[in-house]
């Protein structure tokens, strides 16, 4: 029986069984190669379908090793891309194992879809803000199990009662006699100790690490230039390549004149693919110069005339038809018929590029015995499978070396880069590092989907919503990326934030119409579904408050009596954000509230709109209830980060197409918020002992409607099409 004090509700103070998991279903213990103690964990899979009731098909996906030199080594399925998971997940183990955080070393997990499956996605991937949600219970249980076995090994050696011993700072102590022994000396013995039947986890009040700010374990290497990202991989003899892919999606190479390119000093080879040309050189300078010297004629294919307006029009039309019902409560038609006021609105959000600071890159070496890959990926096993398929090799002949990730945001869940690199490497002798120019990176991204939304609401005579009808059209990333996740015309990402709203809405109907834009691939992008849904829902609720001539915060709050956590974060953000205080003319304050990725978050934002219509986001006050906070510094950092990412999208973010070509190309045309434009940010964290929620993406979705609502407060103009840039806000 596993006991877990922390799963009990706040304030109850009693321990209770964590759940019906029995230890053997998710944890095995044995001797490690080299004589240490090895714990193999099975993190729970989304929906629990992969848990055999009797534990007979135990297949671990994370490992904790206590080595004979005292080092604790964690191999886990999650990768570090700036979100702090390499610090927060080890904290869970260190807490229960009673070791210093510094004693834990992380190893990148090798690619193995089965072995390192993300517990909530079912495949090996880091995304969806779920590392902490998936790891919270099992990682602590593993730490506690190891500690109990180490204590038992010491007690056996001293021939004393284990209850008279305690673990502290990587040692077992026997206070009555003052004896102590390091874990390192006990690791081998502990492997032979029977696995405990009962593991009691610490009470929250006894936490020593959880809830206290911990220094990032990866920071020192990132301030002195020694951190190695995928783009820094330098296998011996590697050449550097850069490429031009068809400027129109789906186009083909018709002809290449490479005479001038070959004459460039340092250029070694021109590789022609069906839909791309690469220049292989001694260094990127020569490769780029060679690429510029190529004369390529393209067969532009069926999408040569495609423009964003065509895609938007198709989506708009789609919202006039019925879609898959994502959620229905009550009877919207009936309620609408009896409404005192009816409000309608349509919204649009654009395609967005990821523009990770580390441009796309992948190093590949295809040789007679197999294929070797160097890169930074959020989805290692997917990379391995794509490389194997492209190289025509069995999986076990493909070795993938994962590296630090210079920004993921969903871009590095994709395998298009490795496919390109292997296609090129097949024609090159020795390893080749393929590096996308920034222009190529932005123009051949896999974009956040374009969505079109149609809303109608009915208000009663007091102005409160009695009917809510929302239909939206766009692509489904899940349907392409994880096909089993797309069922009956729906997927959980597309609808997150549009359904299961925090508000009490008695008659509620939401439909999704899947429409894939021709030729344009779409992908996960920091907060994906919620990046769209929270914007439209929180803008529309603001419209209802305005129609009802009510204060937007008070209006929301009146719909939250059944939801105390949501109500509390909204009240906290309003209080700390000075909601009631007046602002000068031309300035405005906007609010937003959401429950996505398992966390509650409210923003109050102040903007200033100049007479010329330029928008300046001055201040963001954020209140968050993400359950138990593991590393408060990471929570604050992720909110600051998510806000900048979302504010960038709200103010500037837009990928458009004309004649089949993406019109943006570098940071001049795809603008990113800079330090001189960055708002002041305050983060207020609600104390809670609920299980942890995700924090990597929440700031991104919450900030966008708060900015739009603040602009409305400042100007009276409602922004229903993102981004803000290009909107007609001029007043002078």
């Amino acid at each position: 029986m596993i006991l877990d004090h922390n799963s009990s509700r706040a304030g109850s103070g009693r321990s209770q069984p964590a759940n019906d998991l029995s230890r053997r279903n998710f944890l095995q213990v044995g001797a490690a190669t080299g004589g240490g103690l090895l714990l193999s964990l099975r993190l729970p899979v989304l929906g629990g379908e992969a848990q055999a009731a009797d534990g007979s098909d135990f297949s671990p996906n994370a490992f904790v090793r206590v080595d004979r030199d005292g080092q604790i080594v964690l191999t886990m399925p999650y990768v570090e891309m700036g979100q702090g998971t390499y610090t927060a997940i080890p904290m869970l183990i260190a807490e229960e194992l009673e070791v210093d955080l510094k004693q834990i070393r992380l190893e990148h997990a090798p690619p193995n879809e089965k072995l390192y499956a993300n517990p909530m996605l079912g495949v090996q991937a880091t995304g969806n803000s779920n590392a902490m949600r998936g790891g919270w219970q099992p990682m602590r249980q593993a730490g506690a199990t190891a500690r109990i076995m180490l204590v038992a090994a010491a007690a056996k050696r001293w021939n004393v009662d284990p209850a008279s011993c305690r673990a502290q700072n990587g040692e077992v102590l026997h206070p009555p006699t003052g004896r102590r022994v390091k874990y390192a000396e006990l690791a081998a013995d502990a492997a032979g100790i029977p696995v405990p039947d009962k593991v009691v986890l610490k009470r929250p009040e006894d936490f020593r690490l959880i809830g206290t700010p911990a220094k990032r374990l990866d920071a020192p290497a990132k301030v002195n230039g020694t951190a190695v990202y995928g783009i820094d991989a330098r296998p011996a003899g590697a050449k550097i390549a850069t490429l031009a892919q068809s400027p129109v999606f789906g186009g083909r190479v018709k002809s290449v004149d490479d005479k001038a390119a070959r004459a460039v000093k340092g250029v070694r080879q021109i590789v022609r693919l069906d839909d791309a040309v690469a220049v292989v050189a001694d260094h990127m300078g020569a490769a780029k110069k060679g690429l510029a010297a190529l004369v390529i004629e393209w067969d532009e294919g069926p999408h040569a005339k495609l423009g964003t307006a065509d895609i938007a029009a198709e989506l708009e039309q789609a919202t006039l038809k019925t879609g898959a019902v994502a959620q229905n409560i009550g009877d919207v038609d009936k309620a609408m018929a009896g409404a005192a006021t009816k409000i309608e609105a349509t919204y649009e959000v654009p395609f967005l590029a990821h523009a990770t600071m580390e441009p796309m890159n992948c190093t590949a070496h295809v040789h007679k015995d197999g294929c070797e890959i160097w890169l930074g990926s959020q989805a290692m096993a997917r990379i391995q499978a794509a490389a194997a398929k492209t190289a025509g090799l069995p999986l076990d002949r493909v070795v993938v070396h994962n590296h630090l990730i210079g920004g993921g945001f969903g871009r590095r869940l994709e395998a298009d880069g490795v496919i390109r690199a292997v296609e090129i490497a097949k024609q090159v002798e020795g390893p080749v590092k393929v590096v996308w120019t920034r222009e190529e990176d932005i123009q051949h991204d896999i974009y956040r989907p374009y969505w079109f939304d149609r809303f109608a609401a009915g208000l009663d005579e007091k102005g409160m919503p009695i009917a809510w009808n929302h239909r939206f059209a766009g692509s489904s990333v899940i349907a392409r990326w994880l096909p089993p996740g797309f069922k009956n015309g729906l997927d959980p990402d597309s609808t997150e934030g549009a359904i299961d709203l925090v508000y009490a809405l008695p008659n509620f109907h939401v439909e999704f119409v899947r429409v894939e834009p021709p030729g344009i691939p779409t992908a996960f992008w920091r907060s994906v579904g919620p990046s769209h849904n929270v914007f439209v829902v929180e803008s529309f609720i603001d419209e209802l408050a305005a129609a009802a001539r009510q204060d937007p915060v008070a209006y929301r709050s009146a719909l939250l009596d059944h939801n105390p956590r949501a109500k509390a974060v909204l009240a906290l953000a309003a209080e700390k954000g000075g909601w009631a205080k007046k602002l000068p003319k031309g300035s405005g304050r906007g609010a937003s509230l959401q429950f996505v990725f398992g966390s509650y978050e409210a923003h109050v934002v102040e903007v200033e709109v100049s007479k010329d219509g330029d928008v300046r986001v001055r201040r963001v006050v954020c209140a968050v209830d993400c359950g138990t906070v593991v590393n408060p510094d990471t929570v604050q950092a992720q909110i600051q980060s998510g806000i900048m990412f979302g504010a960038t999208a709200a103010l500037y973010g837009k990928i458009t197409l004309e004649n089949g070509r993406v019109q943006q190309s570098n940071f001049d045309t795809y603008q990113v918020l800079r330090i001189n434009e960055a708002p002041a940010i305050e983060v207020h964290i609600v104390k809670s002992s609920e299980p942890p929620g995700g924090m990597g993406e929440t700031g991104t979705s919450a900030i966008v409607p708060a900015i739009a609502n603040a602009i409305f407060a400042a100007t009276g103009k409602r922004l229903r099409k993102m981004p803000v840039a290009g909107s007609q806000l001029k007043s002078g």
């Binding site: 891309m81 700036g82 979100q83 700010p213 220094k215 990032r216 990866d218 920071a219 020192p220 290497a221 990132k222 301030v223 002195n224 230039g225 020694t226 951190a227 190695v228 990202y229 783009i231 820094d232 330098r234 550097i240 000093k265 340092g266 001694d282 260094h283 990127m284 300078g285 020569a286 780029k288 110069k289 523009a355 990770t356 600071m357 580390e358 441009p359 630090l404 210079g406 920004g407 993921g408 945001f409 590096v435 920034r438 950092a637 600051q640 980060s641 998510g642 806000i643 900048m644 990412f645 570098n666 940071f667 001049d668 990113v672 918020l673 800079r674 330090i675 001189n676 960055a678 002041a680």
Partner: protein, 158 residues
């Protein structure tokens, strides 16, 4: 054509076209990968190095224009007083996330601090607005520069 440049106090000779950007000489030929590629057009600051102490985007500086100037990169900035203070402040303030842009941020901030020991917010904006961070660490970058300036002041008093 063989060109000799001085990087972190050491003369290095490479044989490349004279218009080859310094960035690729550092990264691909000298193996100094701490300096990062971000945009290739001086728009993001990830490739920032010091040339005679001036923060410079190495992605657009041709190797033959470096001459006898001293090139300093992230690998050696910790040996300068301003660089060491900035790196410490970066760690104390937990600035980094993905970390990819931070070499460039630290080089820009170090150049600022070396020239202007007590920068105002406006000075920080001027010096740092050429450096993009997609993780949005700007709030902490500003705090860290102020911390480093403060430690500078305290150092001067001692």
């Amino acid at each position: 054509m063989a060109t000799t440049i001085n990087v972190n106090g050491v003369d290095r000779t490479v044989d490349v076209d004279g218009d080859t950007p310094l960035l690729w000489v550092l990264r691909d030929l000298l193996g100094m990968t701490g300096t990062k590629f971000g945009c290739g057009a001086a728009l993001c600051g990830a490739c920032t190095v010091h040339i005679d102490g001036v923060a410079t985007r190495s992605c657009i500086i041709a190797i033959d224009s470096v001459g006898t100037s001293a090139v300093t990169t992230i690998e050696a900035i910790g040996a300068t007083a301003a660089g060491a203070r900035i790196q410490k402040a970066w760690l104390d303030r937990e600035v980094v996330q993905c970390g990819y842009c931070q070499s460039g941020q630290i080089m820009s901030a170090s150049a600022l601090l070396a020239k202007n020991p007590h920068p105002t917010d406006a000075d920080i904006n001027d010096a740092m607005s050429g450096n993009i961070c997609r993780c949005g660490t700007y709030v902490r970058i500003r705090e860290a520069i102020k911390d480093a300036a403060q430690s500078n002041r305290q150092g001067a008093l001692q």
